[in-house]
């Protein structure tokens, strides 16, 4: 069984329609999409252990099938620079999540390296009721949320189509670099869009929605910082 199929079968066994961040990133990795991988820690000692092994700064995120909006529930702590900060953050997350979502089953804490700050991008995909598998690209933050500055394509697409898609958004000059800021690695972005389009197309019977938000774009390369996937339920 492929990595993707195994993850999906496992989730269905537990009648979960939303994959955990770890699972979603496993799927992305399987499709050749670079991700910030994390390690699941079961308790405070493990959290500190993995953070030290990984090297600071790190990020901690709560892992719970019931908590889909982790930041809102107080389940995310960024830029932790040493063991003491990690320890305190672990305790705070546990307390906050138990308070905001008392019914949530907490599977542990995801420890991951703090990504270098990059240009915030969004790559999404879904099974559209009219058009079938589609892929979406936009700049993150207010660009997508307020200005709806996104482009869609019916999946799967090739590199040329992805290039056209990136140039279509109004914020494109930002990616080319404005006000002395460096340009983003456009070819790397193209490649990710093509891969996500392939993923949503090949998984048209199983995955209903994919959100990579944010995807960080750098001068060289890109990386999926957070990922969310929803499965098709009968």
């Amino acid at each position: 069984m492929s990595v993707v199929n195994k993850i999906i079968v496992d989730a269905k066994k537990e009648s979960r329609s939303v994959l955990s961040e770890i699972e979603a990133k496993e799927v992305l990795k399987d499709y050749g999409i670079p991700v910030i991988a994390g390690i699941l820690a079961a308790n405070e000692e493990e959290t500190v252990f993995h953070a030290e092994k990984m090297g600071f700064p790190v990020v901690l995120k709560v892992v719970s099938p019931q908590v889909t909006h982790k930041s809102d529930a107080g389940g995310v702590k960024l830029n932790l620079k040493n063991a003491a900060e990690v320890k305190r953050a672990h305790q705070e997350i546990m307390a906050k999540v138990r308070e905001s979502c008392p019914e949530a089953e907490i599977k542990g804490i995801l420890v991951q390296p703090m990504a270098l700050s990059g240009r915030e991008l969004v790559v999404g995909a879904m099974q559209d009721p009219l058009f079938g598998p589609v892929v979406m690209f936009g700049l993150g933050g207010i660009f997508v949320e307020v200005l709806k500055d996104v482009a869609f394509r019916l999946a799967p697409i090739n590199r040329e189509e992805a290039r056209d898609m990136i140039r279509q958004i109004k914020g494109y000059p930002v990616l080319e670099g404005v006000r002395g800021e460096p340009a983003c690695d456009l070819e790397a972005i193209e490649e990710i869009i093509v891969k996500v389009s392939k993923l949503i197309y090949e998984q048209k019977e199983t995955i209903s929605e994919i959100d990579i938000n944010p995807l960080f774009g750098y001068t060289k390369g890109v990386i999926a910082v957070d990922a969310r996937m929803v499965l098709i339920t009968e």
């Binding site: 999404g124 879904m126 009219l130 589609v134 996104v150 482009a151 394509r153 019916l154 898609m165 994919i210």
Partner: protein, 470 residues
């Protein structure tokens, strides 16, 4: 997607040997009467059978009491009946082996669950017996190569190479009338209504292989198989342009409140992007649909997408630059060689009043038709300019540079669009001459720009479609 046999059946419906009109009375206010009148006046050469239980003769034709009484094979039935009687007629026609039934009646799925149920049952029966339903809730169709007007608006329609697929009767007639105003002919005009057994994609598939159709215009409100539509469009675009007006843009407001990928389903943005991806020319208004179809129908195909303009009045070209560039089409600078020749033609005296750029504003020099023609020639020779718009204002003391434009078209075979600022009366004479020669004439800069942009977009989309495997 229709199979070979279904395509043949649809062809048989568009070119029927015989038509029965059900629900005809001798009253002019009767929709069936108007349908019959349209068929007879349209010059239909096949057999026509009015059907009514009591009438004996209408419009000089013998009336049959029922569909069963009509002799010989029956290819097409037009039913001008209410929704319940329409459903019964479909049952009778399907079992009698009628190829297709046009249902004018509303009162089906657009009216809610009860109507939807009636429609579903009716379509199932039709499908079981292999009968195709056009509509319900539509005006029927026009097929000029076969002299058939089955819509209940008796119309005289010149033959042409544009075909229109329309969800709405009224909006579809708007575009038709706009074309008829200038005596621009059409091949087919198809009302799809509720898309009972035939979807936009099916009609498009038919028009793709229809030899009398060179340009396809579509007025769409909604479709259930949008993906199939764009996939068929991609194949169609290899040989003929597809232009779509999609209503429902105000949904944008609704989507603006939402941030999630999933909630953007079926949004206007997605339609627009999918059309662009698959090579469908997306237009924003009904007038633009008419202008785009007109330009694509009359002008020769463009061999590039660069648009050049010459004028003796700057304003209209500024309007055009806005319209053209907002559709993603380039207005390139003129080549060094073209600029050198423009200067040469102007001479030293006039060079001071003309700014050397695209659009080229000739000011006073441009009022003289022969001179206008020479500058037009220079633009045609510029390798970066593939489509030329010539702007000229109607004036009682100066003639239009029509002959000069035709001469340039013959010489260079690059599309030339005439933007003659005038009342429609003022251009009637030259319009006929220019249209026949292959130069579309518009009386305002908006439409001229939309026409030019459609030619430029089709150049790109066709090239892209041809480079892709099926």
């Amino acid at each position: 997607m229709l199979n070979e046999q279904q395509l043949k059946q649809l062809d048989n419906i568009f070119n029927p040997r015989s038509i029965a009109v059900v629900g005809v009375t001798d009253s002019k206010s009767n929709v069936g009467y108007s349908t019959l009148e349209a068929i007879v006046e349209g010059g239909f050469k096949g057999k026509v059978y009015p059907v009514h239980p009591r009438h004996k003769e209408i419009l000089g034709l013998p009336v049959y009491a029922s569909i069963e009484d009509v002799p010989g094979p029956l290819d097409l039935v037009v039913a001008a009946l209410n929704q319940y009687a329409s459903a019964e007629i479909v049952d009778i026609c399907a079992k009698r082996g009628v190829k297709g039934v046009i249902l004018l009646a509303g009162g089906f799925k657009e009216m809610g669950e009860e109507g939807a149920k009636l429609e579903r049952g009716m379509i199932e029966t039709a499908q079981k017996w292999g009968c195709m339903v056009i509509g319900p809730n539509c005006l029927g169709f026009i097929n000029t190569p076969y002299d058939l007007v089955s819509v209940f608006f008796p119309l005289k329609i010149p033959k042409g190479n544009i075909s229109i697929i329309t969800q709405s009767g009224g909006a579809g007639l708007t575009v038709l009338n706009r074309l008829l105003d200038e005596n621009i002919g059409i091949s087919k005009w198809i009302g799809v209504g509720n898309r009972g057994s035939l979807e936009f994609a099916d009609y498009l598939q038919y028009l793709e292989q229809d030899p009398t159709t060179d340009v396809i215009g579509v007025l769409m409100e909604a479709t259930d198989n949008a993906r199939e539509f764009v996939e068929i469009a991609r194949k169609t675009v290899k040989t003929k342009p597809v232009v779509v007006y999609k209503s429902g843009k105000s949904e944008l407001a609704q989507y603006a409140a939402l941030t999630h990928t999933g909630t953007l389903a079926g949004s206007p943005r997605m339609y627009e992007d999918a059309f662009h991806q698959y090579g469908v020319i997306y237009v924003r208004t009904l007038l633009e649909l008419a202008a785009a179809c007109k330009a694509l129908s009359i002008a020769p195909p463009a061999k590039g997408d660069g648009i050049g303009m010459i004028t003796h009045t700057a304003g209209p070209t500024i309007v055009m630059v806005d319209e053209i560039s907002s559709r993603g089409c380039p207005v390139p600078n003129l080549s060094e060689e073209a600029l050198r020749r423009v200067k040469e033609l102007l001479g030293t005296k006039n060079s001071e009043t003309v700014i050397l750029k695209n659009p080229l504003d000739l000011a006073g020099v441009g009022f003289e038709p022969v001179a206008f023609g020479k500058f037009n020639d220079v633009l045609c020779q510029d390798p970066g300019i593939d489509i030329i718009i010539g702007v000229f204002s109607e004036h009682r003391n100066w003639r239009f540079p029509a002959d000069e434009m035709i001469e340039n078209l013959k010489k260079h075979r690059k599309p030339i669009i005439a933007c003659f600022i005038s009342k429609i009366d003022g251009v009637c004479e030259v319009m006929e001459q220019l249209h026949k020669a292959g130069i579309p004439v518009f009386t305002n800069p908006d439409e001229a720009a939309w026409g030019a942009a459609a030619l430029a977009q089709y150049y790109r989309y066709q090239k892209k479609a041809l480079s892709q495997k099926d």
